[in-house]
């Protein structure tokens, strides 16, 4: 029995393991998108990217957004470290991380409205199509991560703390945070 207990302590919990595998497939999904985007960039007619007549992306404003999203990841890390000792303060960090995530998605939405007004749409050029495809796919993941983390946060506030559930949600959140700078570097710069 002791040996079995030891073996189960070494094991990664089911939900965390499942989430890690899921995130690996998601990384491949984004790799596919980025690879297609890189090829489209290289094969663009005229050799100039973004294509002539298309608006430039707001690089500076998005840099601030990127910082906000990275901050949310750091806040969640701190929340995780304090979870076992200072539950109250840890929950505040998690809430702050959620707030940062919501701010990121909101600011991205504002940016999209601006770009749409400037004439960048999915059909205006492959530049626009790839921009909305990649950033939109990331935004969907960000929204899913916010919903999941909010749900876990509310359960934890109600006193139902399940370590493996919190850990699995964190894995997904960190994935959303870490994949964004790569997208920013490839799509915006």
């Amino acid at each position: 029995m002791a040996a079995a207990a030891q073996a189960s302590a070494k094991r990664v919990p089911n939900s965390v393991l499942g989430m890690i595998i899921f995130v690996a497939t998601e990384i491949m999904f984004f790799a596919g998108l980025m690879s297609a985007h890189t090829i489209a960039k290289a094969t663009v007619l005229g050799g100039v990217w973004p294509p002539a007549g298309q608006p430039r992306l707001p690089v500076e404003r998005t840099a601030i957004n990127t910082a906000i999203l990275l901050l949310s990841g750091i806040l969640l890390l701190i929340g995780n470290r304090r979870m076992s000792t200072q539950r109250e303060s840890a929950l505040r960090y998690v809430a702050a991380a959620i707030a940062c995530g919501i701010a990121f998605v909101g600011l991205q939405g504002v940016e999209w409205f601006g770009l749409l007004r400037e004439g960048l749409t999915m059909t205006s050029s492959s530049h626009g199509a790839f921009f909305y495809l990649i950033v939109g796919a990331h935004a969907l993941h960000a929204v899913a991560a916010i919903i999941a983390l909010t749900w876990v946060y509310l359960l934890m506030r109600a006193g139902k703390f399940v370590p493996s559930r919190f850990a699995a949600t964190q894995v997904f959140w960190y994935f959303v945070v870490v994949v964004w700078p790569v997208i920013y570097l490839r799509v915006y710069l």
């Binding site: 040996a3 079995a4 073996a7 094991r11 990664v12 919990p13 089911n14 939900s15 393991l17 499942g18 595998i21 899921f22 690996a24 497939t25 998601e26 990384i27 491949m28 999904f29 984004f30 790799a31 596919g32 998108l33 690879s35 297609a36 090829i39 489209a40 094969t43 663009v44 007619l45 294509p51 999915m122 059909t123 050029s125 492959s126 530049h127 199509a129 790839f130 495809l133 796919a137 399940v162 493996s164 559930r165 699995a168």
Partner: protein, 568 residues
């Protein structure tokens, strides 16, 4: 989440005593065995549809421009749809669900000694999404314009532009169905991998896992690692079809080659996704029926890993004629030929297992040996297509079609029959009829060769694939080859007729077969230690594993086999 699931699992077990109704028991179950049966029967139904489609276009090719009984006249557009749907259904709705989902779901918990999958409810969801995907695909036959007619590889611009493929609605539904199916198998794959990593019986170490389980898990890992780019490409194709974006349209800054880049990144590993479980089934069977320890378990495992690694670096060989960089073609020729080494290693290990064994030629063993013989032909003809030089001539001819079917029919048909005849006693508690089984075996394997050997010849003579009628094209007509095309069609009719024997045998034996004991084949692995069919929760008390899975033909023991869970 897992704790909640386990809790739910216990509740489920508690309710079980109340004897749930038919719907709850067979359609809403979280039991891995029921879900496996759902996958198996859905896959068999789809196989009947896929076989019917093969009958339709083979009739058109064998007897051009005659009305096909049961279908009607095959117009060019309908021919395209029928060929596309045959390929799609046989790969995504027959090979994948039966080989991986059905056998995986049924055997993983039984063979590693646990009561159910790690996530039973995700498992149920996986089947429901799969069923939905099958329904979406079948509905596409009925929409305006008919089912998708852009070939199962869906190359743009044929697939992205409704004006080219003439099936704008069918194309969208096809993509949706494939996407749903992928979601289903991603859920299933996560489930399989987690279960095998975390729920093994105590004592079952890495090298005590039956080789079939290893191969199914590696196959799902390959699938999950390669599916992402295809899903990305599919989303782009869907946008091209519905939102009029220009991802694959060169006139608007897109690139049609991009689809091939993303599709084949998944498409080739997919071959190994279905090959590995088939190889695993054969390995289990030959060890049992040769009464010999599997030769070189570890070499087998390392070869399988080698296949898994190499499977990611061979995919551009599908694009040799698409205008890829010749330097890249060189690299991919080398890797393609390299991957035949671990696969050949596996076959050699199987032959070494047979060597000196006391072989019993029961039906499952016949199928297993048939797999090895036929797959060998498939593998050897692949060498010509894997070399970038010869591929330029042979690409998209019937030589390729014959090669492909010499690999996929052994995988998706022969090994599945091997698996079904072998595990039928465990699934339904009764034996299948041996005589009918043997008639069915010879009635399938001989016509199979008669179908495809002529196609090697017509292909080498230059017959292009996906041509609805050779007489319509002067440079393709070659009337001298027509008798070969007709021979192939007649052999297909014979082969399809013999499948009726299997269907009869399957359902007759389910109720009237000889009762099977717990262990009719005298096998060592854990699934044979439980009653047939296994009860809910599988094991009365969870087993402990003491040794590897292939202890056969041992001198100095009363029995010639030593079950994995026997202490001494």
């Amino acid at each position: 989440m897992s704790e909640q699931m386990q809790h739910a699992g216990h509740e489920q077990a508690g309710q079980d005593h109340a004897e749930p109704g038919f719907f709850l028991k067979y359609c809403w179950s979280t039991d891995h065995k029921i879900i496996a049966m759902q996958y198996l029967f859905t896959g068999m139904l789809m196989a009947v549809i896929g076989g019917f489609l093969a009958y339709v276009f083979r009739m058109q090719l064998g007897f051009p421009n005659h009305s096909v009984p049961g279908f009607g006249l095959v117009t060019p557009g309908r021919y395209n749809a029928v060929v596309t749907m045959h390929g799609t259904i046989m790969i995504f709705w027959v090979a994948m669900p039966v080989l991986i989902a059905a056998f995986g779901n049924f055997l993983i918990p039984l063979m590693i000694g646990c009561d159910d999958m790690a996530f039973p409810r995700i498992n149920r969801l996986s089947y429901q999404i799969f069923l939905l995907s099958a329904i979406v695909l079948l509905v596409s036959f009925a929409v305006k314009g008919g089912a998708f007619g852009g070939a199962w590889t869906a190359y743009p611009p044929l697939s992205s532009n409704g004006a080219y493929n003439l099936t704008p609605l069918g194309a969208v539904l096809w993509l949706l169905a494939v996407a749903l199916e992928f979601v289903a198998f991603l859920l299933g794959g996560i489930n399989f991998t987690v279960t095998v990593m975390n729920s093994r019986a105590p004592g079952m170490k890495m090298f005590d896992i039956p080789i079939l389980i290893w191969m199914i898990v590696l196959a799902t890992v390959i699938f999950m690692a390669s599916a992402g780019p295809l899903i990305a490409g599919a989303v782009m194709l869907l946008f091209d079809q519905t939102l009029a974006t220009g991802f694959y349209d060169p006139q608007r800054g897109g690139d049609p080659l991009l689809w091939q880049h993303l599709f084949w990144f998944f498409g080739h590993p997919e071959v190994y996704v279905v090959l590995l479980p088939a190889m695993g089934i054969v390995a289990e069977i030959i060890a049992v029926f040769a009464r010999k320890k599997l030769f070189g378990y570890k070499s087998m495992l390392y070869s399988t890993w080698g296949v898994g690694i190499l499977s990611f670096v061979v995919w551009a060989h599908h694009q040799f004629v698409a205008g890829i960089d010749p330097r890249m073609a060189n690299v991919f020729t080398v890797t393609t030929l390299l991957i035949s080494i671990p696969v050949a290693e596996l076959v050699f290990l199987y032959i070494a297992t047979l060597y000196g064994g006391s072989i019993r030629l029961d039906t499952p063993m016949l199928w297993a040996l048939g797999f090895m013989a036929e797959f060998l032909i498939g593998g050897v003809t692949g060498i010509f297509l894997g070399s970038s030089g010869t591929d330029i001539y042979l690409h998209d001819t019937y030589f390729l079609v014959a090669h492909f079917h010499y690999t996929f029919v052994p995988i998706a048909i022969i090994s599945v029959f091997a698996g079904i005849t072998f595990w039928f006693p465990k699934m339904f508690g009764r034996m299948m009829n041996e005589t009918l089984g043997k008639i069915h075996f010879w009635g399938t394997v001989i016509p199979f060769n008669v179908i495809f050997i002529p196609l090697f010849i017509t292909g080498a003579a230059g017959d292009q694939r996906r041509i609805y009628s050779y007489a319509q094209f002067a440079e393709q007509s070659r009337p001298a080859l027509q008798h070969l095309r007709t021979t192939s069609t007649i052999a297909l009719l014979v082969m399809l007729a013999f499948q009726l024997i299997f269907i009869f045998n399957f359902f007759w034996s389910m109720w009237n077969g000889k009762r099977a004991g717990d262990n009719p084949w005298r096998s060592t692995t854990l699934e044979w230690t439980v009653p047939s069919p296994p009860p809910h929760g599988n094991f009365a008390e969870l087993p402990t594993v003491y040794r590897g899975p292939y202890e056969y033909g041992l001198p100095g023991r009363a029995d010639d086999y030593w079950p994995q869970n026997a202490p001494n």
